[in-house]
């Protein structure tokens, strides 16, 4: 839930950078969710959205399914999750134990200039629990976020941390090019994903090098 005095996105990101497991994969939504994370903690295991609002959460669900042995983290916005709320239900149903969903709740559409949300004060943790994500909680301080991130991993379903955050409408300039295909290839190479090996007349397969 939104507090009167809220930490910044950077406050939470510093905790995330400090607490992130070495083998974790991170997917960040459009706008400053990606730009600031790239500025603070760029690594090949980051997958940056440049657009496609609302689709970071379902994409990361697929990634968590495909990479069950690695911790997977998504930073999604409150406006984005309202846009595709059904994805919360699918995450709850699939229940990947390696997935951590971080919802930045700043009460505005920050990436497009700070326009008001349809409902800025929803209890998103309660919403996530109702969608089947039992381990969901509202977080209002970086210290509470650090404690939650430091808690031992559990196998039972995804967890969702709703981070009460002040809006950051000023666009951060990312330090790297956000070429989408480069982002994808860099990420897939870093995780050792199999590549498609063609054959002249069809029948190609995905193979590990």
């Amino acid at each position: 839930m939104v507090n009167a005095i809220r930490p910044s996105r950077a406050d939470y990101y510093q905790v995330l950078a400090d607490k992130l497991p070495k083998d974790a994969l991170v997917v960040t939504a459009l706008g400053n969710a990606s730009y600031l994370w790239a500025a603070m903690h760029h690594r090949p295991e980051n997958f940056y959205f440049e657009d496609a609002m609302g689709l970071a959460l379902p994409l990361v669900l697929g990634l968590a399914i495909a990479q069950p042995a690695r911790p997977v983290v998504v930073v999604e916005g409150d406006g984005a999750v309202l846009m595709h709320m059904g994805a919360l239900v699918t995450v709850g149903a699939v229940a990947p134990g390696n997935l951590t969903v971080l919802l930045i709740q700043n009460g505005v559409h920050a990436a497009s200039g700070g326009q008001a949300l349809t409902n800025a004060s929803l209890d998103l943790a309660a919403l996530a629990r109702a969608a089947g994500i039992d381990r969901a909680q509202n977080v209002t301080t970086p210290e509470a976020f650090a404690a939650a991130m430091g808690a031992p991993a559990e196998a039972a379903g995804a967890r969702c941390l709703v981070l009460s955050t002040k809006p950051d409408p000023d666009v951060v300039r990312p330090p790297i090019a956000f070429d989408p295909v480069l982002t994808k290839h860099r990420f897939m190479s870093a995780i050792g994903a199999p590549r498609y090996v063609p054959t002249m007349f069809g029948g190609g397969r995905l193979q590990h090098d």
């Binding site: 496609a52 990361v60 399914i65 029948g203």
Partner: protein, 175 residues
């Protein structure tokens, strides 16, 4: 089901689709059902080598599919053509922009052979919309075996690094 190396006089086309996905190493299928797709999804759910994910909306399904492919799984989608109409933004700004190879197996409702005529408005606009959003597609030919057509669609997606939609008739996909 047809044993390897044998040819049935009246092959069961949905079985051929499933067998082709297994043979090509598809590890996951993301789906939003319609009446034609219901049973094949149940059959996929029973396959140990293919994980079925039931999404709430086709654009969400598309994003999940991008994520499974990003994570290294060969990925198929099962949706109705209504879903192609409603996933346009994600198709161009995520799946095509990042060049995700995805096999999309689509129940093509609203053609002249569909007995449920309220699907007609979707059938009428499906192909113009696919052309408009630049989604590569083909109509399955019911006079040829369906398995090789699925394989060619899957190969196209990988070779061209893009989603490819194979539009299926009722006989192709309804178990």
């Amino acid at each position: 089901m047809v044993a390897p190396g044998q040819q049935s006089a009246t092959p069961h086309r949905p079985s051929e689709i499933l067998d082709t996905l297994k043979r090509l190493g598809f590890g996951v299928a993301i789906a939003v059902p319609d009446s034609w797709l219901g049973e094949i999804l149940v059959r996929i759910e029973q396959e140990p080598a293919i994980k079925l994910v039931r999404a709430t909306h086709e654009e969400e399904a598309l994003a999940i599919a991008c994520g499974t492919r990003l994570g290294g799984l060969r990925t198929a989608m099962f949706v109705q053509n209504a879903g192609l109409l409603s996933m346009g933004a994600g198709m161009v700004s995520l799946a095509q922009r990042y060049q995700f190879p995805l096999l999309m197996l689509v129940s093509y409702r609203g053609t002249i052979e569909d007995p449920v005529f309220y699907h007609a408005p979707k059938g009428r606009v499906t192909e113009p919309v696919l052309k408009g959003i630049g989604l590569a597609y083909a109509l399955a030919d019911r006079n040829r075996p369906i398995g090789p057509q699925v394989e060619r669609a899957a190969t196209y997606a990988e070779e061209a690094s893009c989603p490819f939609a194979l539009l299926l008739s009722q006989e192709d996909v309804q178990w």
